[in-house]
Amino acid sequence: MEWASQLCENRGLGSKMTDSKYFTTTKKGEIFELKAELNSDKKEKKKEAVKKVIASMTVGKDVSALFPDVVNCMQTDNLELKKLVYLYLMNYAKSQPDMAIMAVNTFVKDCEDPNPLIRALAVRTMGCIRVDKITEYLCEPLRKCLKDEDPYVRKTAAVCVAKLHDINAQLVEDQGFLDTLKDLISDSNPMVVANAVAALSEIAESHPNSNLLDLNPQTINKLLTALNECTEWGQIFILDCLANYTPRDDRESQSICERVTPRLSHANSAVVLSAVKVLMKFMEMLPKDLDYYGTLLKKLAPPLVTLLSAEPELQYVALRNINLIVQKRPEILKHEMKVFFVKYNDPIYVKLEKLDIMIRLASQANIAQVLAELKEYATEVDVDFVRKAVRAIGRCAIKVEQSAERCVSTLLDLIQTKVNYVVQEAIVVIKDIFRKYPNKYESVIATLCENLDSLDEPEARAAMIWIVGEYAERIDNADELLESFLEGFHDESTQVQLQLLTAIVKLFLKKPTETQELVQQVLSLATQDSDNPDLRDRGYIYWRLLSTDPVAAKEVVLAEKPLISEETDLIEPTLLEELICHIGTLASVYHKPPSAFVEGSRGVQHRRLPPRAGSVESAESPDVGQSGPSEAPPAVIPSQGDLLGDLLNLDLAPPTATVPSVQPSMQMGAMDLLGGGLDSLMGDESDTLGGDIGGSPSMGAGLGAAPTAMPAALGGAPPVGGGLGDLFDLGGGVGMPTGFYVVPKTLWLPAMKAKGLEISGTFARRGGIIQMDMSLTNKAMSVMTDFAIQFNRNSFGLAPAGPLQVLTPLSPNQTIDVSLPLSTSGPVMKMEPLNNLQVAVKNNIDVFYFSCQFPLSLLFVEDGKMERQVFLATWKDIPNDNEAQFQIKDIHLNSDAASNKLQGSNIFTIAKRTVEGQDMLYQSIKLTNSIWVLAEMRVQTGNPNYTLSIKCRAPEVCQFVYQCYEMVLKN
């Protein structure tokens, strides 16, 4: 007691003798000394020594050698000392499992202590000791504590179940703790309920499919009742758990929302954000014409704004979440622009986030204010922030047409400041403004040209070069300007080199007479002196285009460019939906799904918003007034460099939007990048146009054919390829009289993996032509164009026989069915499994990869019927080792019907023999690569099981042939 009173004195009156001294002892032989002190008879000395041990432990010294001595101090009635010893145990028990057993007795004894605080302490600590033997002893005390009369002990025991589950999940299940935990949800004490919910939620996360948190209206009701009574932290656990529930209908959804909305006035920001999460999620189910829906929307804004008066770290979390909410439901905060104005003393992370939201909320109504603010920001100190502010001005110009003029003049003012990074950033955005409003602001080019020398960043240089090339006819000394860049061509970054190449070609096409030398120079620099394949290829293409047909070159290079979209950096809708379900959590701060940063099974489940009930309207399009984004879902500007655009000088501009007119040319570019596709595309098109160039035209021939194909397509004529596709389709329809069995389409590429592109498909053989039938669905927000496909080398040399015929852009939520004819003349490489096919699909956004498996029957050719004699000879010739036997079960067909069915898939019956009521069918199959497969099928009348023997010189195919049999016969 003496020590205690002294301590109090210290705290009250400043320090004579304080605990900090424990941090300073660092002499040699310390451990030895401590050992002696720990074993001292004097209580005070003992306690002092334990404190020293803990201090050493804190700073990272290894004091595990003192284990037995410290554990000896455990038996004490001094609670403070006991807690210190427990702390030591939690740290070192794992490294000294055998000695940790010494502590078990004390724990078990403490669990029976009359004082509930000590019972709870013991069970809490025991759960933190990850030693198997201790865990065994924990079960009984824990079971008692879960039913303890004191709520403090029960709430501690509830968490302890989660601890135990983390150590040994099986044990928890076997001991039935999960059921006890579920019972605690109905406990009379709100804190017990909250901790039970937290523990169950955590356990459920590692068992994604279990029905642990069996949320039904009754439990939900219990949770909502506890919500009103428990601590702020408990409210968070309960709200986070509620967010995982999916109400059965809109009425239930509304009633839960009504009971959650009062939480929006809680002082704890986490309670508010978790409540927002529940509301945002459940709102999804409410019909939009409901009055309550509007009320709810109005109730959400004030608490979100209030979050911005919290401490800066919380503001940051709130802003990251508001960024998501604004994308999902712009109407909530559309009138609250002012609160996102940046304050001079805001930390930089808050400033950058606010700026982001300002751009999203900018509209015609508030643009004047926003611009005035942005102009202020552009003079601040932090370089990142200033850059972002300048960029934001450009985005405003593009987003709100009425403001474009003022934005441009503001940018010009900023350029006049001559601050290097401001100028560069301004030039980059002005280039985008030119793209958005052609022939409007070109008068500023002169000002821009003055700053040519100060540009040292590749992006700015490339932007400037693009401007010079694009407006070469209006800039008198364009050739001189570009020539000056050419001097250090090899020191430039690829971005600048590509741009320079294109700009000079443009210049040449516009002013051919004076610039011939220049263009030759750049073409030879690009093609001969560079090892960058992109640059070289582009150089070659330009070169050939120019030398073959300058008119076509003009059509291609100076083609009208697609408009750029208004919104930037939008999160993909599927990801956005998932993140909305994670409001308030780390995922919403990182803007990444939990699987991207959490290890193991936890949090890998994808969360989805519930489907909207009771209304027909499309669920996603936000119903905003004039100010928000328009009806059409905004297009996303992809951040990656766009390969396609690259080729045709669209790289600078964020490529998007719908531009049917340039489609064919873009596609040509795409095919080339996929390797040799240019030839095949050109070859095919000329084929259908009645040309006689078929076969495998050389590069030159392909280009030669271009002028005929391209102008037609460029002029928006009926898509040539579409007709081609139709033809194939028709052919397919006619070509399957006996019915090749087509497996229903399966999902090959989920939208999650392909930035919104979903592909499902199947294979078919129609009239001797192998086809890959695919449904492409656009689940992203932006229009997808420029599809192309390529296969990896595979076992049977499958390769696309033509380009992927997707000639109209794929708008959001649109699905398009395509049939891709395949040939078997591609490169061969054995795959595992044999019928595996790796596919790359490319669109304007990225290249995506997936693999699928085709049925081998795809490769059974029509002339697979073998002569009887040959069959007999071959059968004998193939060694018996190569014979494989299979059972085909549950087939209720007689042998003739089976034979007919199989013939539809080019499995030909050559002979039939009946022996003792058993039909023996002899069959032959020929694969595209001329491998023969021979089969004997035994059919016993009345027995639904067939026996199939397959012989082949390449025995590895037998398994797959058998699969085809089974598939054909069963369908």
Binding site: P116, D166, S265, V272, K343, G584, L586, G603
Partner: protein, 439 residues
Amino acid sequence: MIGGLFIYNHKGEVLISRVYRDDIGRNAVDAFRVNVIHARQQVRSPVTNIARTSFFHVKRSNIWLAAVTKQNVNAAMVFEFLYKMCDVMTAYFGKISEENIKNNFVLIYELLDEILDFGYPQNSETGALKTFITQQGIKSQTKEEQSQITSQVTGQIGWRREGIKYRRNELFLDVLESVNLLMSPQGQVLSAHVSGRVVMKSYLSGMPECKFGMNDKIVIDKQGKGGTTDDTGKSELGGSGKQSIAIDDCTFHQCVRLSKFDSERSISFIPPDGEYELMRYRTTKDIILPFRVIPLVREVGRTKLEVKVVIKSNFKPSLLAQKIEVRIPTPLNTSGVQVICMKGKAKYKASENAIVWKIKRMAGMKESQISAEIELLPTNDKKKWARPPISMNFEVPFAPSGLKVRYLKVFEPKLNYSDHDVIKWVRYIGRSGIYETRC
């Protein structure tokens, strides 16, 4: 959930390290030191991800607190917890400093064991904690005392214990507002809002039921309507000429029954004992801006600036504003400043790059002026001076939002005192928040 909590000094030495989860290793302690504390740049994000481990950090004076996790935790909760941890520590041993933390490390460990279990925040109310975390060894508590503690810690009213007795029942109510302003050089209000707090000190016996009323527009309008048929509504209004204010949003201490506020907009609660924050609120409409700043900056050539700033007080002449301070930023290349002011004292502080003008007191509807000549060193720096805004500090004895406390009623049915016996004190203080005028 939270996997561990570390406290460091400014050098990055660990003062406290408490690990709750097995997935957090000792190397996490070092990772944070190396990547955040020792990083030379300013903090670019309060959440840092290092090798798939997320660190949530806040800094209090020289001390870093970092919560660590490898899971998808509720980020808002982690920060709220860190703030709460700071509050609890301050309540126990005062300022958070290296010395205080070292002196109380055993206590801190004990607190951390109690308020975080397996990374889940438990009860963090200081009132409740102080009943059983005392650092006085084990007290021989009676069984009743023990169960009283546990029921308070886990119970519905975790913030108040039973059996409190005062000879004199007294309560103090402070309406503390901070008024925030951003004004353009031309005097246009770009943004203005008041964030207010109602702080209560209650010394009441028993478990009193309280009801708090203010001139909230929604309540007054409702009563005004009801008043035509209902007399009680009218009489309660008293001076019916009093204006009401529109509250944008408010949040409450956890003692307030939120569902009741949501349905009836009445603020009823059983208060904690001692000092606590009853509510926070925010208003943006009809704010009384106590001061106006009129700046005039003129560049005379490249080496001289002339600055003139006028401040006008805008409230009842009978009231006095105090602790007035105007901060006029100066360019980095300032070589000398001459200041003339009519009232108060003004000084150029080179280390802060500002002229600081202080006035002790100023009555309402008055005006004062300062003029300064700033001499500049010629520089080659192409970038123009950013002209940070002129900021102001002050304190006024009224609520700039217009908020008025209408009543605070106390009912204690079990004990023998009535609302009239409680002595109540109300005070209004308006302070400057971020009160800036661009120049």
